[in-house]
């Protein structure tokens, strides 16, 4: 059955090595406390979801891990190195794709490598591989406005994969694509977590999506922002992608999360 634990000292007593560690992070905007004394560990090679109602600070936390926002207090460690800004060990996937509309798919995908000073033919070769990997072969010279929403996010994903960072940070990556595309994305994401030895941190507001894709789900609650629960589903995903949504543990966890979030949703 579901292994739901309450918050306590040994909340995350994991045997797995830790890729990203968030320790006592606070973030204030003037008098507003966006995050207060938040601690969380992200095991290596796993996908952890940050799930919670709007205003719980999940995107803020993700951007602090990315180095895009500076915390007011506390530290973030990635592979035991303290985060002071954006770095080559992390790559970001954006909710609105954040593609350059004036650049071709190939240029967009190789942008991260370009910023890292990789020489042109080399970076385009690498980009080409990842374009193929996300299934966009033949669209290298297309422009973002010629692609569907789902294809655009594949470009965003290829761009993040191309820099070969250890940690992939995804900010509601599938919320701007349609339902059917989203399902396909979720299946592909499971495969990606399986095949790449990368750590994924995934922000979402969809309970089903979080339970479907995650090795670990952190439930964040607002006012004050805190980690209220960490859920580690047992391996119902080993039964195959088609069986997950009918698995009783999956359904129990979804119900359970809804029960704990219900009172926070206006």
């Amino acid at each position: 059955m579901s292994q739901i634990k309450n918050v306590d000292e040994d909340l995350q007593n994991l045997e797995k090595p830790i890729a990203v560690s968030v320790d006592n992070i606070s973030k204030n905007y003037g008098n507003v406390e966006a995050l207060k004394d938040m601690s969380l560990k992200f095991p290596k090679g796993e996908l952890t979801s940050l799930l919670g109602p709007s205003g719980c600070g999940k995107t803020t936390l993700l951007k602090i891990i990315a180095g895009l926002l500076e915390p007011s207090a506390g530290t973030v460690m990635v592979n035991n190195k303290r985060v002071t800004g954006p770095g080559t060990d992390r790559a970001f996937v954006f909710q609105d794709f954040a593609l350059m509309p004036w650049a071709s798919v190939l240029k967009n995908v190789s942008f991260g490598l370009e910023m890292r000073g990789v020489e042109k033919t080399e970076r385009e070769g690498i980009a080409q591989n990842y374009i193929k990997e996300v299934g966009l072969q033949g669209f290298e010279n297309s422009f973002p406005h010629e692609l569907s929403g789902g294809m655009r996010q594949r470009v965003g994903l290829a761009r993040a994969l191309a820099v070969d960072a250890d940690v992939l940070l995804m900010d509601e990556p599938f919320s701007a694509v349609d339902e059917q595309t989203r399902r396909k994305f979720q299946e592909d994401l499971l495969q990606l977590v399986e095949s790449k030895n990368k750590t994924f941190i995934f922000v979402t507001h969809s309970i089903e999506e979080a339970v479907y894709v995650s090795d670990q789900i952190a439930i964040l609650l607002p006012r004050p922002s805190r980690v209220s629960k960490i859920i580690r589903p047992s391996n119902f995903r080993a039964k195959g992608v088609d069986a997950i949504r009918r698995d009783s543990e999956y359904l129990d966890i979804v119900d359970d999360i809804w029960t704990s979030l219900r009172s926070y949703v206006e």
Binding site: K63, A66, G67, L68, P86, G87, T88, R90, A91, F92, F94, Q95, D96, A98, M100, P101, W102, A103, F111, G112, E114, M115, R116, F143, P144, H145, V163
Partner: protein, 250 residues
């Protein structure tokens, strides 16, 4: 446009206006308007003269330098204003004042400061063009998608790289719009400069022809000038259309 079932080519209305001009000229309503045919034959004569070619050279030099400085300064200042709140607060009032100010009144001051030569003419030209370029570039930068900037930052873009790879391109449709209007203003600037500061270039030709009542010469040079300004403006409008595919989708 279609007329009696025939498709008319673009600008065919010019034929009608040309015919009207010819008619008024032939009717000798006023010495001020010679017939178009005479103006055109004078134009052909004038084009070959040394005086005209020198005027064209001098004007083109002043115009191109003036526009060059205006575009460079305008884009850089505009991007800085769009990115930096402090610079914006400091400069915006001045940009708005100068944009609407009657700059012709400033020309005598420029003459005192920079002399009666080419330098003052170039500065006048720049001064006419630069403000709208600044304002448009600033507007282009301010509407830039936040997450595009975050994207560049997250992949480790230095401020200079962000400037050249993101801000410039994201603001390009607005920049080109600003440059187009700026260049139209620069044409005004260069002619006013040449008329007021030192009588050189096309300014000198206008002065010469109108003082001697050489009306067909006067009109001929005017047609050349109008055609040049119009062509430059149309060329930039074409460039603007080239980037408009992404203007709406940023």
């Amino acid at each position: 446009m279609h007329l009696f079932g025939y498709r008319l080519p673009g600008m065919s209305s010019l034929l009608l206006w040309g015919a009207l001009w010819e008619f008024i000229g032939q009717a000798k309503v006023t010495f001020f308007i010679p017939p178009l045919s005479k103006v055109l034959s004078t134009l052909y004569e004038v084009l070959g003269t040394v005086a005209f070619q020198n005027a064209l050279k001098e004007t083109a030099y002043a115009f191109c330098s003036g526009v060059f400085y205006a575009v460079m300064i305008g884009i850089i200042v505009g991007i800085l204003m769009g990115k930096n709140r402090l610079i914006d607060e400091l400069l915006l009032p001045w940009v708005n004042v100068f944009l609407s100010a009657p700059l012709t009144a400033l020309v005598p001051v420029l003459m005192v400061l920079f002399g009666f030569g080419m330098k003052s003419i170039i500065i006048t030209t720049s001064l006419f063009a630069v403000w709208i370029i600044i304002l448009n570039t600033r507007a282009g930068v301010r509407q830039i998608n936040r997450s595009l900037v975050e994207m560049a930052t997250s992949f480790g873009a230095t401020p200079l790289k962000a400037f050249t790879k993101i801000y410039f391109w994201a603001a390009l449709p607005e920049i080109l719009g600003g440059v187009r209007i700026g260049i139209i203003r620069a044409v005004k600037g260069v002619i006013i400069g040449q008329l007021l500061i030192s009588i050189v270039g096309f300014g000198a030709l206008f002065e010469l022809y109108s003082a001697n009542f050489l009306m067909s010469h006067f009109w001929a040079v005017l047609i050349v000038l109008f055609a040049l300004a119009f062509s430059i403006s149309e060329f930039l409008a074409y460039l603007e259309r080239r980037v408009s595919y992404y203007a709406a989708k940023r």
